[in-house]
């Protein structure tokens, strides 16, 4: 690696580790302190390495310096707490107010644990702390990107298609909320795990979708969001405490989707629809991994929406139109909708119904959905009526175009209309 790339690279891989470990020690009350320490550490690296050249083991150097900085700060704090504060109090009032707590000197080395196991524990704990229902989803994703993934504010702003100020404000408010609610950075107990884990999985899936469906034109960044979501989910899957069938199902689902990442975008950066994708560009390694995780997810008797979505996603990796593909896809959607309704699932189910049971039946069912503010509803109706009643198809595509939220979608509908006209 070139020397000028070394620090940005380390920032991406090491920032998140050091910050999680330090936050575990300092808590959300002093999160800024932790951020300052890590920031100072990287600044020191840039200055020192620029003159002397990088050390043999740059990551260990960073851990060492961060730990020293934390130690100095805590010692100063301790002196203040044990000596200065009582002296000030004693001078201020003789009336015997509460004395300073006589905290025994802590073993800082034991607590700031930058060993691989210590880092992993800290990151998992941080994941549970951030994914609290107290925070809106966008804040959870923002904080995850900052603290768990080591993204810069500018990158987060680009991912959300907004500016740095907005992201800074959002993160500031989120941290304030975590402080006010005294959210603790710790693993939930075994009995709590079952109802805390879904929120973590939701955030990871949202993070993935942010990358997969974002309108941001920055491909590299979008792909990185997907990779980060996969990495966080891997951490849950690798840890015996958090490794549940739902975790493996989500991992399988994301592997299947990610396998089409490269094929979805052409040379000009435009989206390529599923039907027109070059299957040679599908990532067969990821598909194989997905199948592997899906098998693992099948243990036990839990059936989550991730299992069903992974099942659907598996069949999407089989390009050939077989009766079995559409029958299975339809049945997964039938179950998924019973578990949790969403307009997208309702529309996709109707498409699968057309493939498995014929267009006529799908039209009857589609007309009942009445999702009249949803552009994809009219796009689906247009698709179903094509070659059956082309004037109806055209008017549906027209309504879809009027409702479309992105230019790409509008253009797509225009093309459909042009083809019929």
């Amino acid at each position: 690696m070139e020397e000028q790339d070394l620090i940005p690279h380390l920032f991406r891989t090491e920032y998140r580790k050091i910050i999680s470990v330090l936050c575990r020690h300092f808590g959300f009350e002093q999160m800024e302190t932790a951020e300052d320490i890590v920031g100072d550490t990287f600044l020191a690296a840039a200055q020192t390495w620029g003159i002397k050249g990088p050390p043999k083991n740059p990551a260990a150097w960073l851990y060492h310096v961060a730990k020293n900085k934390a130690r100095n700060l805590l010692q100063r704090d301790q002196v203040f707490r044990l000596k200065v504060t009582p002296a000030v109090r004693a001078a201020a009032s003789e009336s015997g107010g509460p004395g300073a707590p006589n905290t025994p000197a802590q073993s800082i080395d034991a607590e700031i644990d930058l060993s691989p196991a210590g880092i992993e524990d800290s990151q998992l704990q941080m994941m549970f702390a951030i994914c609290t229902p107290l925070l809106p989803a966008e804040s959870q994703i923002g904080l995850s990107l900052r603290i768990l993934c080591g993204f810069g504010i500018e990158e987060i702003a680009a991912a959300f298609l907004t500016n740095k100020e907005t992201i800074n404000k959002r993160l500031f408010r989120a941290k304030e909320k975590l402080r006010e609610a005294a959210v603790r950075i710790e693993m939930p107990s075994a009995s709590e795990l079952d109802h805390r884990l879904p929120a973590v999985l939701t955030t990871i899936y949202l993070l993935f979708n942010e990358g997969y469906y974002s309108e941001s034109s920055d491909d590299v960044l979008r792909k990185e969001l997907c990779i980060e979501a996969l990495r966080l989910c891997h951490m849950l899957s690798d840890n015996p405490v958090t490794n549940t069938p739902a975790v493996d199902a989500l991992l399988a689902l994301m592997c299947f989707h990610a396998s089409r990442f490269d094929a979805r975008i052409d040379r000009h950066g435009d989206i390529v629809l599923y039907a027109y994708q070059d299957t040679n560009r599908w990532n067969t390694d990821l598909i194989a991994k997905g199948i592997d995780y899906l098998h693992r997810a099948a243990r036990g008797d839990t059936l989550t929406k991730y299992h069903l979505e992974a099942g659907i996603a598996y069949w999407s990796t089989q390009k050939e139109d077989t009766a079995e593909k559409w029958e299975q896809t339809l049945q997964y959607y039938n179950l998924l909708l019973q578990l949790e309704y969403s307009p997208v699932a309702a529309l996709n189910r109707t498409y699968a119904l057309a493939k498995a049971r014929g267009v006529q039946e799908a039209i009857v069912q589609a007309e009942k959905l009445q999702l009249t503010d949803n552009p994809f509803y009219f796009a689906l109706l247009g698709e179903l009526y094509t070659d059956i009643d082309n004037s109806k198809a055209m008017s549906h595509f027209g309504r879809a175009m009027a409702l479309a939220r992105t230019n790409a979608d509008k253009q797509l509908m225009q093309k459909k209309i042009a083809r019929l006209g």
């Binding site: 339809l330 049945q331 039938n334 179950l335 019973q338 309704y341 309702a346 049971r357 959905l369 009445q370």
Partner: protein, 109 residues
Amino acid sequence: MLIFRHEDGAKVASPEQLQTWMKQTMDWVGGIAAQNKLVGKNGLLFDDAHVVRHRGVVTNGPFGEIKETIGGYIIVKAESVEEAIAFAKGSPVLQGEGNTVEVRKVYKR
């Protein structure tokens, strides 16, 4: 609530028939769920079924001596009784000649 009544619960269908019937039921329920109008559902098993009678008489059952049994139910959100009836008409249960679907309003919870 749509309650499925089967004329003869003991009648055993062939695996193929069962599979077709399962698919049709899944499609029917999935279609209601796709309209966001499904509230809940359950099927009832015949394993360990008993009937408790007057004066504490317990029999295995409910086979043989009674004409119909309840096979399951689904609860739907319907704007009107007509809509609920329209849902019921789509039920694959009705392919059996003596079977019925009873439509009842649920006491507000």
